[in-house]
């Protein structure tokens, strides 16, 4: 598909600015449960993301039938003429960009998903699990972007492995790793083994107790909290009044142990060269040693906020590419040993907010909830809920581990690179009847 030709056509149609992103994707998946493959899937897709504007009028769409792209562009140009102005739109990034080299490990495309599946299941069973379920993805995407001001190409590939293993009491362990490097998949069996160990550690779980606890969050669990928070770090959410980050730029709002970046320059699944208006992506501090530094911006939202783009377009609604939390100096075992009476939580799910503005939410631990006494696992728990405020969590970070993991999961966990995080005074509740 000739994007230059399409841009010429757009200009002939009276469109002021345009961004076209051509994407060609081949994606594979294996899903498994009860130690066997349920389904193997393949997607072969192509699409063209279109953003067009005239003055402050904007229109966006995705064209899937590329053969009709020119014809559809004519139709969309007519729609554009009749739209009201979006006074929050300040144009596409006009500055000439220079880009990092694209980065792809082609060996990852040769990884056999069915072999990985067998390895992770075998690993879990060997370590004491009685059954395992999960999913393995391999994604290969070629992207090409053209705006009035810039053009670039990118190609990425990655593999996600999610495995959840159960013991005889239905106690579970889970790992959800993601990588762009084939060498990190050489010992896939160990991923399964880790879930088997966590599931087996659980024994027969006991009903958890309410109270305030010092909690060590596994990277997967903290990844859930960070991913939800990154949605609120978007300038769109801040502008809409739906963010607890609002009004906090420059403020020492959280624990100095907490540093959060959006880092698409880190070579992993969230690696990206350009955003949706062809701005070169960058490593952006969101929270640095507890101080709120930036929201996530496109050129347009940055203009409204009187700052610079962070290379996170979504032109209207900026988004994070790859959250990264800075590691610390201690091992996660050291952090565990700092808990006199507390919990180690492997995963969280079903995070919901009753108050986006202040950050009140609750979420449900799963896949390993361990009660810790004097740094040792005493028993596993079920049936508890984290009923908290996100700002309180961020303010109560005691320390972070030096070990970090690349995680990504089905329940709203963006591809992230995170340590184990120790948080004090976390409120735990449970059902009363």
């Amino acid at each position: 598909m000739d994007l230059e030709k399409l841009m010429d056509k757009a200009q002939n149609l009276g469109i002021d600015e345009a961004s076209f992103i051509l994407e060609v994707r081949e994606k594979r998946q294996v899903r498994f449960s009860n130690n066997d493959i349920d389904i193997s899937k393949l997607w072969v897709e192509r699409s063209l993301d279109v953003f067009i504007s005239k003055g402050k009028k904007v229109f966006m769409t995705t064209i899937k039938n590329l053969d009709k792209a020119e014809e559809l562009l004519e139709k969309y140009a007519r729609i554009l003429q009749n739209l009201p102005e979006n006074k929050d739109f300040y144009g596409l990034n006009p500055k000439k960009q220079s880009y990092r080299e694209k980065k792809i490990d082609y060996e990852i495309l040769d990884v056999e998903l069915e072999d990985l599946t067998k390895d992770v299941i075998d690993g879990a069973i060997e370590k004491g699990a009685i059954r395992a379920a999960g999913v393995i993805y391999r994604d290969h995407v070629k992207r090409k972007i053209l705006t009035n001001y810039n053009s670039a190409e990118d190609e990425v590939a990655n593999v996600d492995i999610v495995i959840r293993a159960f013991n005889e009491y239905r106690n579970a362990g889970q790992e959800a790793i993601t990588t762009a490097e084939a060498k990190e998949l050489e010992d896939a069996r160990s991923i399964g083994e880790r879930t088997g160990v966590i599931a087996s550690l659980g024994g027969e779980p006991k009903d958890g107790k309410e109270g305030k606890y010092k909690i060590l969050f596994h990277p997967l669990a903290f990844g859930s909290l960070i991913s939800y928070s990154m949605h609120m770090a978007s300038a769109f959410a801040v502008d809409a009044g739906m963010s607890f980050f609002a009004g906090k730029i420059g403020e020492k709002a959280y624990s100095e142990k907490l540093t959060i970046y959006d880092d698409p320059t880190l070579f992993s699944t969230g690696y990206r060269v350009f955003d949706e208006e062809a701005t070169a992506t960058q490593r952006t501090p969101i929270v640095e040693k507890g101080i709120v530094r930036n929201y996530l911006h496109s050129y347009s939202t940055a203009q409204k906020f009187n700052t610079k783009t962070t290379g996170n377009a979504g032109i209207i609604n900026p988004n994070a590419w790859q959250p990264v939390v800075e590691g610390g100096n201690k091992s996660y075992q050291d952090l565990l040993s700092e808990i006199d009476k507390g919990l180690f939580i492997v995963n969280l799910w079903y995070t919901r907010f009753q108050d986006y503005r202040n950050g009140d939410f609750s979420t449900i631990p799963r896949d390993g909830i361990f009660y810790i006494e004097n740094g040792e696992i005493k028993e596993s728990w079920i049936g508890i809920r984290v009923t908290e405020n996100m700002q309180h969590i961020f303010s109560s970070v005691v320390d972070v581990s030096k070990e970090r993991e690349k995680v990504k999961w089905w329940d709203e966990v963006l591809p992230s690179y995170l340590p184990y995080v120790l948080v004090d005074g976390v409120n735990i509740t449970r059902s009363k009847l």
Binding site: I39, K41, L42, V44, K68, I316, K432, L433
Partner: protein, 454 residues
């Protein structure tokens, strides 16, 4: 198109095969704080091929020239399983069905839609306002190797809002989704221009209200709360694929096991159904995505676990027949077990009778934050619009009552169900990759005795 699909289907040598085509035209408008933020029009179509041999292979493309190639690859992918998968044996059907639009989507121009949203916005003074209007025209053709051939046309319209009000440092937010299978008669059914100012007024009272008292109270939940509870703690745990562990690493499993059919779950006045045939419901369908006729299913009947939701795969594993619960959200998604319209059946009481008999209680009319564990046993609902009841009368608004309760705990304490019935739209998430499907959920007002609230 059917010729192409038949040609591809006939070339597949397998125990079972199906080809699905879907074409979707969609319009989306987002208005944030009075500004038209985004307008989008999308047209797309694509094919999915599913093959069953030892295992199941699934391949999808939106590139017609790749259709033969993906069919061949789906055949190869269907070899990957240790234990042979068995679909349930079903009759074959040939039919065409559609949903009538009283006010056709194609006749509603973009300007009119935008003006409607801006008009709604002008009626509101909340500090945070977000509206979204989406319409879809979906055409589907399904055919399988057993001779089933179903053609369908479904229009759907949905309206979503989120609103937040601030008062003296306090913030209260609300959101709600309205949706139908049909056209723009949606705004005749729900007069958004009246409903949202009422919601805003309620929020402005709630944000000033005292925190709901902690203790043991009688509880009356409104249809919106009844609906989410029916969906989360009856519909989801009754999905047979969860029960069998197929969703274990994603949306989770179920506290229900196959042997629990007939077990008591709560009060004998409780009946919860899932019914795709409710006219104009958001998740309406006449045939499911495997060509099985839709019907009403009693999931909990007279307080007992009664029936699971099945597609052909789960029914085959449990040695039964599909009850038409297979849905796929898009052309590139596999059909899995899903809900449609899940609701408590109405009872015999008037709404007033429910309140008359409450000495001290809480009325939770609507909800905000909620969640439930992955076996659908421990759940939480936080009231959005809620009131204190004393001696049968609503006394004052209260802020954010919290109900944290188990599934049997909730259903067991139900002692009266009103005659009214109201539905609310939602987008239910499940599957991997995620499949958001359009659903309704609802019920009447329901009274529970002796509930611990905080």
């Amino acid at each position: 198109m059917e010729d192409i699909m038949e040609r591809v289907l006939n070339k597949i040598n397998a125990r079972f095969a199906e080809v699905r085509y879907m074409r979707i035209k969609m319009n989306l408008i987002t208005v944030k704080n009075g500004v038209v933020n985004a307008v989008s029009t999308t047209e797309e179509d694509g094919f999915a091929v599913r093959v069953v041999n030892e295992g199941i292979g699934f391949a999808a493309t939106n590139n017609l020239s790749k259709l033969d190639e993906i069919a061949e690859r789906a055949i190869k992918l269907a070899r990957n399983r240790k234990n042979k998968v068995e679909f349930s044996q079903e009759k074959s059907y040939e039919d065409s069905w559609s949903v009538e639009e009283k006010k056709k989507i194609e006749n509603m121009d973009m300007e009119e839609k935008i003006n409607y949203l801006l008009d709604v916005d002008k009626h509101l003074s909340a500090q945070m306002k977000l509206q979204m209007l989406r319409d879809k025209e979906i055409e589907k053709i399904y055919m399988n190797s057993e001779g089933t051939k179903i053609r369908a046309k479904i229009p759907r319209v949905e309206y979503f809002y989120m609103m937040g009000v601030m008062d003296n440092g306090n913030f209260e937010q609300s959101y709600r989704q309205y949706g139908i299978s049909g056209g723009y008669e949606i705004f005749d059914r729900w007069d958004i221009l009246s409903l949202l100012p009422e919601e805003e007024k309620a929020l402005k009272e709630i944000v000033k209200a005292n925190k709901s008292p902690e203790g043991t109270y009688d509880l009356i939940v409104g249809p919106e709360v009844a609906g989410i509870i029916a969906h989360e703690s009856c519909g989801h745990p009754s999905e047979a694929d969860r029960i069998l562990g197929r969703e274990a690493a994603q949306a989770g499993e179920s506290f229900i096991t196959p042997s629990k059919i007939g077990d008591k779950i709560g009060s004998e006045i409780v009946n919860v159904v899932d019914d795709p045939t409710v006219p104009n419901s958001f998740g309406y369908y006449k045939y499911d995505e495997e060509g099985i006729p839709a019907r009403r299913r009693y999931l909990y009947k007279e307080g007992k676990i009664n029936e699971f939701l099945h597609n052909r795969e789960s029914a085959g594993k449990l040695g039964t027949k599909s009850n038409g619960a297979a849905r796929s959200s898009w052309w590139n998604r596999e059909p899995i077990v899903r809900m449609s319209t899940t609701f408590f059946e109405p009872g015999d009481y008037s709404k007033e009778e429910l309140f008359e008999d409450v000495k001290e209680g809480i009325y939770m009319k609507s909800f905000t934050e909620w969640n439930i564990d992955d076996i659908r046993y421990n759940q939480k609902y936080v009231g959005r619009e809620a009131y204190l009841i004393k001696n049968g009368e609503i006394v004052e608004p209260v802020r954010r009552p919290v109900l944290e309760i188990t599934t049997p705990g909730f259903y067991d304490r139900i002692d009266a169900i009103a005659k009214d019935l109201e539905f609310f739209a939602g987008t239910c998430g499940k599957g991997d990759p995620m499949q958001g499907v359009d659903v309704w959920m609802g019920g009447p007002h329901i009274r529970l005795r002796g509930i611990k609230l905080r």
